[in-house]
């Protein structure tokens, strides 16, 4: 059911008849068989009309009274109705009005047939929602032309409605993405505030220190420097993510020895890991000691994953980094003893908007876009990335890079 029709439901009175709505897949195009209901008390007219419609390939059902017409439409809505105005019992106009009361049948094409030359009846029918009319004596060719014209019109309307619905869906998806981007912005700004707060704070403290008699204005320089490095790392990460997404990041592939690289990364994380008394063990397989990669990008992949591991690790915990050969690839695993990641979040951890969603849903600090960067960076190397984790039992991030 199209949303166009569904929208009319609000505020509509309950229809007296509940109609089953049947739609042809083809929307009733004239070149296909259409289900046509002929409502006509006169046997000769009925015969003539069905003859022409049958000949044109339509699937014709005939009824003789208004009541029978309403029952037939209720049981299975046709593609088009040819409806006589003057009938014993319920008149054609009554039938028309009852059908049009039902929102699902607003667009059912109804052509009135009338032996009356009175323009008042015709005008009344058209006002009540008839699509067209033909006058008796009935001319087969004219009826067929009118029927086809209405069926064509309906097919076009359906196409337009379908496109409208597609557009509405696309709009919704775009609006959702736009909302995600908005949240992403908020998350990024949020993340930038902490280092900015500490930098500005320590600058202010430095000024106060300077004003003191025995103050040491250099006392806070390391803290300011650390804040700036954090900020720089975040900004660089974001810019690189943009480049990776746009496919404009150029990789400088070279053989990279994992041992020295990990020592560098370890030095970079040293402070935080030491503060939490973490032990980081490195076990590099002899046949998995080197990969073909962009050294700087790979270094940042390690920094991001290890930074995350350090953050989630309990005080005094241990982190293990391993590399081993796996087919033509080198597989690296980084295992932490943190709280772990629930199964349902595994897929979202590496996704940009997944991070945003989790940040929106939980009152938690964001884990940033570091892991999103890792996924794109690893994939740019034709590798793959993933994680294994059970809540309460830590987490193992793994990635593979072709040798």
């Amino acid at each position: 059911m199209s949303s166009e029709i569904a929208q009319h439901k609000n505020g509509q009175p309950e229809a007296s008849h509940q109609f089953a709505v049947h739609r042809n897949g083809n929307g009733g195009s004239s070149s296909h068989r259409a289900a046509v209901l002929v409502v006509e008390d006169d046997v000769i007219h009925r015969t003539v009309v069905s003859h022409w419609l049958n000949k044109a390939g339509h699937n014709v059902t005939c009824v003789e009274t208004g009541e029978a017409a309403l029952d037939a439409i209720k049981a299975n809505a046709p593609d088009l109705v040819l409806l006589d105005i003057q009938m014993p019992g319920i008149s054609g106009i009554d039938v028309l009005e009852r059908v049009r009361e039902h929102h699902d049948l607003m667009s059912l094409p109804i052509i009135m047939t009338t032996s009356l030359s009175g323009s008042q009846e015709i005008a009344h029918a058209l006002d009540s929602g008839a699509n067209d009319y033909v006058t008796k004596p009935l001319d087969g060719r004219v009826i067929l032309a009118r029927v086809n014209s209405q069926l064509n019109l309906r097919a076009r309307t359906h196409e337009v409605l379908k496109m409208r619905n597609q557009l509405a869906e696309q709009y919704e998806r775009l609006a959702e993405l736009d909302g995600m981007k908005e949240s992403l912005m908020q998350m990024v700004v949020h993340d930038l505030r902490n280092p900015l707060t500490s930098i500005l704070g320590y600058v202010e403290l430095t000024k106060r220190e300077e004003a003191k008699e025995k103050g040491d204005p250099y006392r806070f320089l390391p803290a300011i420097e650390a804040g700036c490095s954090t900020l720089l790392q975040m900004v660089t990460g974001m810019l690189d993510l943009t480049k990776l997404e746009a496919g404009t990041m150029e990789l400088k592939l070279e053989p990279v020895a994992l041992g020295p690289l990990l020592e560098e990364v370890h030095d970079c994380l040293g402070g935080h890991a030491q503060e939490k008394s973490l032990s980081i063990s490195v076990d590099i397989g002899s046949d998995a000691a080197s990969v073909n990669a962009d050294r700087e990008i790979l270094r940042r992949v390690f920094v991001n994953i290890l930074d995350n591991a350090v953050r989630v690790s309990p005080r005094g915990g241990s982190i293990s980094v391993r590399s081993a050969r796996s087919g033509g690839d080198v597989r690296v695993e980084i295992e932490d003893e943190g709280p772990g990641i629930p199964q349902e979040a595994h897929a979202r951890v590496f996704e940009k908007f997944g991070q945003v969603e989790m940040w929106r849903e939980e009152d938690r600090p964001s884990t940033g876009l570091g892991l999103t960067f890792c996924k794109m960076a690893v994939e740019a190397h034709n590798g793959s990335i993933g994680l294994e984790s059970e809540p309460g039992h830590g987490c193992t991030f793994w990635f593979t890079i072709p040798e």
Binding site: V189, N194, T197, L200, G201, E204, L205, R311, R364, P365
Partner: protein, 144 residues
Amino acid sequence: MAERILVVDDDEPIRNLVEAVLEDEGYEVEHAESAEEALSKSGRWSLLITDYRMSGASGLALAGALKEEDPELPVILMTAHSDAATKREASQLGVRAFLAKPFDLDALVADVEGALRFRQDRTVNRRRAGSGDGSLEQAAGGGW
């Protein structure tokens, strides 16, 4: 007796910054990197300064838990971004002040002084009102 202030933030530089500022002002400061660590510390606090979003329990949850033991404990909430709903929830819990990151150190000190003074005034008023009157005590408890 020096005022004991508990500072809770999972961001180490911010924690150290707030601690350095307040120690400079002559307060006794303890810090924790999570709500859980904060709750494991013993003793009575004159004031709680906590970040809102942290790994594990939030700053508001921490404030609620500490206020169960000490309903008059003043709380200052540090946030990088606070929406109306958070502020409402916070004020229902009796959060004394919001410090939006990045914050001015003078504003931090002023908020801390204001919160501690308010607590002292309450204590003095309650003593003046006499020990048998529970109504004022209750009113004071709800105010924070």
